[in-house]
């Protein structure tokens, strides 16, 4: 059996585990995939977080992607970071940069097993702040400067690709180079508040091609979180990565209240596998949840199975289909053959998550073109391709 087939059947523990520490956030990004803003009173305590890290260590989850909300606003964030590193659980955390002061950057630069990912969704303040909120560009740039000054090499500059910033790809690469960072670009998902702005923000078909061509030509050193496999049918060169949906198989999300979802883009009860507070803990959820067992069963590709592109795109992203109201066994809304667009024309309503921690909308209507104001940060995912360093062994 090929390695990728093993992945489809699930592994003994996740390869790419995202752990959102809090729903609290100082920002209110319009496309926040976890609809973050306000802290949830049921969030895991420091003691519970430590116990979960112990469990990750026992399961040999070698690293976790920590996000939020804005994880660094948790008072015990740095303590938990040290605890994880001391227990052989490496951490990469996503931040908007708000707490990355020069002394903190120096401490991070001196810590092994920690990687930092700064979110920025525009190469200019104008484009970024329209999505992430006023001042967020300056905050991110200041944080990157602090990391670079501290000698933190190869931290990640993480960008969610939108209709407004696809044209800035070269500029993002230049920013990453300026600060000694590695560029990471990921796909906009219609998850969380992203559902409200997806129509205005998701790249056009022409931009998908532009993005694909850019990745093929320039993307060798660019991380993608394996998130653009739905574009593979655009050319003969497959993008590097696993090119399959890892949800519940090699990927999962633990949210701030301990709920375990199939992937970070799928915060909806449909994709809720259990809670780390359940008697079997996280290991029990990962190993025995009915949802995960179902996701690990072979699929025939549904209506996509007969398409010539199915081998390349694997039907695309489960969350993108779900939150645009498309059936999970049909085409991705951004299907490069146009099947998604046609299917979307027949959709009258899409499911919405009842998990929403957005701050109440009293202020911050941003001076932008895409209507919806709203609260929090976004992004994170798999960023290490599970095939990095892959050796074709016997």
């Amino acid at each position: 059996m090929k390695l990728v087939e093993h992945f489809k059947h699930g592994l003994t523990a996740p390869i790419c585990l995202t752990w959102e520490l809090t729903y609290a956030c100082n920002l209110a990004c319009v496309h926040c995939l976890s609809s973050s803003g306000r802290r949830d009173p049921r969030e895991l305590s420091t003691v519970e977080c430590r116990a979960l890290i112990d469990e990750f260590q026992r399961m040999q989850v070698f690293y976790v992607n920590i996000g939020g909300g804005e994880p660094t606003v948790r008072a015990d964030f740095w303590e938990l970071l040290d605890y994880a590193v001391d227990h052989q659980v490496g951490v990469k955390f996503s931040t908007n940069g708000i707490r990355l002061t020069p002394p903190r950057a120096r401490r991070l630069a001196a810590t092994d097993y920690v990687d930092v990912q700064i979110s920025l969704d525009g190469a200019t303040a104008e484009v970024n702040d329209a999505v992430r909120g006023p001042g967020s560009y300056d905050t991110a740039v200041r944080a990157m400067g602090n990391l670079a000054d501290a000698g933190f090499a190869d931290f990640k500059l993480s960008v969610v690709m939108t209709r407004q910033n696809v044209g800035q790809l070269d500029a993002f690469a230049a920013i990453a180079q300026r600060y000694g960072a590695q560029l990471r670009i990921t796909r906009l998902r219609p998850s969380g508040r992203g559902a409200e702005v997806w129509d205005e923000l998701h790249p056009t078909a022409a931009q998908q091609l532009q993005l694909y061509d850019w990745l093929v030509a320039r993307g060798e050193k660019v991380l993608t979180g394996d998130s653009f496999f739905h574009l593979n049918a655009l050319g003969s060169a497959p993008l590097p990565g696993l090119n399959l949906c890892g949800a519940g198989r090699v990927v999962c999300l633990v949210d701030p209240v301990g709920d375990v979802y199939a992937c970070p883009f799928a915060i909806h009860r449909e994709f809720l596998a259990g809670n780390v507070r359940d008697p079997g803990g996280f290991a029990g959820v990962w190993g025995t949840s009915e949802l995960f067992e179902r996701l690990r069963r072979p699929s025939d590709g549904g209506t996509c199975g007969s398409c010539s592109a199915y081998d390349s795109c694997q039907g695309g992203c489960m969350a993108a289909k779900f939150f645009t109201g498309l059936p999970l066994d049909g085409p991705d809304p951004e299907c490069v053959k146009g099947h998604g667009e046609r299917a979307l024309a027949g959709v009258s309503a899409a499911p919405r998550s009842d998990v929403d921690h957005s701050r109440r909308r009293t202020a911050v209507p941003l001076s932008i073109g895409f209507g919806v104001p709203a609260p929090a940060p976004a992004d994170r995912a798999c960023d290490i391709s599970p095939l990095a360093g892959f050796q074709p062994t016997p």
Partner: protein
């Protein structure tokens, strides 16, 4: 005598790098390097056995013998191990 341009020498003693942890999986094992944060895959259980037992054997060849790797498969295993040495998953050690 080195048999590989990258310096991998199966006549020497090797070991799993102390920075690398192995997690058993149905296909073999997942290898994680805490130093480089890179994940790689050992795609057969026998390769996992070889990597785990390198430290107890005077040479790589001896480890392959001990794991009963068939002669026909030996070149493929040596190629895989050279790759692992190149990535730092395994490293030379002083023989006893």
């Amino acid at each position: 005598m080195s048999t590989d341009p990258t310096g991998f020498d199966p006549d020497r003693a090797y070991r799993r790098s102390p920075r690398v942890a192995l997690r058993p999986e149905p296909f073999g094992a997942l290898a994680y390097d805490f130093g480089t944060r890179r994940l790689s895959f050992l795609k057969t259980p026998t390769l996992v056995t070889v990597v785990r037992t390198l430290e107890e054997q005077p040479t790589v060849h001896a480890a392959l013998d001990a794991a009963a790797v068939p002669a026909a498969e030996r070149p493929a295993y040596l190629t895989a191990l050279a790759g692992l040495a190149d990535a730092g998953t395994i490293e030379p050690r002083e023989s006893l």
